[in-house]
């Protein structure tokens, strides 16, 4: 198979694999009441799955981030969280700083 065909197939496979979870979620939501315990459980699982993904992105990153030092990545994260808290939850400042600090330290 040509490489361009493989890329198109990969895009289709990736999009389908992603949409399944979203669509199943929309269907399940019709049966879940906001006040139910199952909703609370889904909420906790959603937050922890997301946190797991973020923890993994910092400790075992994919892509270019893997070429930076683990200690530096963690330090940048902690500095930016402090900026976030000190700046009364401004999100633009810590995100801008993160790119600048990592580019310099790396």
């Amino acid at each position: 198979m040509e490489s361009s065909q493989i890329i198109v197939l990969a895009i289709i496979a990736t999009s389908l694999a992603t949409f399944i979870s979203r669509f199943m979620g929309a269907l399940t939501s019709e049966k879940v009441s906001v006040n139910s315990k199952i909703f609370q459980w889904f909420n906790c699982v959603a937050y922890s799955t997301l946190a797991a993904l973020l923890g993994r992105m910092i400790i075992f990153p994919a892509g270019v981030l893997a070429d930076s030092d683990l200690f530096i990545r963690t330090a940048v994260l902690i500095i930016c969280i402090i900026i976030f808290i000190v700046s009364k939850k401004n999100l633009v400042l810590p995100t801008l700083f993160s790119a600048i600090i990592l580019s310099i330290l790396n």
Binding site: S3, I7, V8, A10, I11, A13, T14, S15, A17, T18, S21, R22, G25, A26, T28, S29, V32, S33, V34, K37, F39, Q40, W41, F42, C44, V45, A46, Y47, S48, T49, L50, A51, A52, L53, L54, G55, R56, I58, I59, F60, A62, G63, V64, S68, R73, L77, C80, I81, F84, K89, N90, L91, P94, T95, L96, S98, A99, L102, S103, N106
Partner: protein, 234 residues
């Protein structure tokens, strides 16, 4: 059909001191450059963000292609990393549900579900009248989704002008933004345990199984957090 005022209120979440535009731009520019590296042309890169719009899955796809994985393997790997979208949808959509709204809105707009839009919607839905929350969500979704596609195109076009240190700088922005948003969301005991537990378990289980780490870490930490919340009245 769609309440215009509420829709624009959602769209406007792109502006201001809590804007997601910078982290979205940073990570999708980095993705555009990476996809070019993996042999994608401009149209293919844009199509990937248009139809998938879930960064971790797109990263998995690009890396799997580079090591020559089969399409079936790519499908499974992406499904596992993007399965988080299922609990995320179930923990958001019931909040947006209203009988007066047609179902197609929910079925189509679930495509906008990604970490950024989810965190913004979770933070802002209370301010919106129940009847129009889905239109607020569609506004957030269209804003973040179109930013992602545009930035993928810019990343692809500017790939040759960026060096590796710049790309690494761009790649850290997204996890930093998400971590800040999550810390902002830690308003009760169970969510705090869920976030801290997930952050620790995610990388820990990853050492044992790269594919199943997210699923297991999410289930274990989430269930523990839920039980804690139940026991202590949140």
């Amino acid at each position: 059909m769609i309440n215009r005022k509420i829709f624009f209120q959602g769209l406007k979440s792109l502006k201001g001191s809590r804007s997601p535009a910078i982290p979205l731009a940073a990570c999708f520019i980095a993705l555009g450059a990476l996809l070019k590296d993996a042999g994608f042309n401009l149209q293919q890169s844009a199509a990937s963000s248009l139809f998938t719009y879930a960064l971790p899955g797109q990263l998995v796809m690009a890396e799997s292609l580079l090591v020559g994985a089969s399409i079936i393997n790519i499908f499974i790997a992406v499904w596992l990393v993007n399965f988080r979208l299922y609990p995320m949808t179930v923990s958001l959509f019931p909040l947006l549900e209203h009988k007066a709204q047609p179902k197609w809105k929910y079925y189509l707009s679930c495509h906008f579900l990604a970490v950024t839009s989810w965190l913004i919607a979770k933070e802002g839905y209370k301010k919106i009248d129940k009847k129009h929350r889905i239109d607020f969500w569609i506004g957030i979704g269209i804003g973040t989704w179109s930013t992602a596609i545009l930035m993928t195109i810019i990343g692809h076009l500017s790939a040759d002008y960026m060096n590796k240190d710049m790309l690494i700088g761009l790649a850290i922005v997204n996890p930093v933004y998400f971590f800040c948003m999550m810390i902002g969301a830690m308003k009760n005991l169970s969510i705090s345990i869920a976030v801290i537990g997930g952050t620790i378990l995610g990388p820990l289980i990853y050492i044992v199984s790269t594919e199943w780490a997210l699923l297991f870490a999410g289930l274990i930490a989430g269930t523990v957090a839920f039980l804690f919340g139940e026991k202590n009245g949140k």
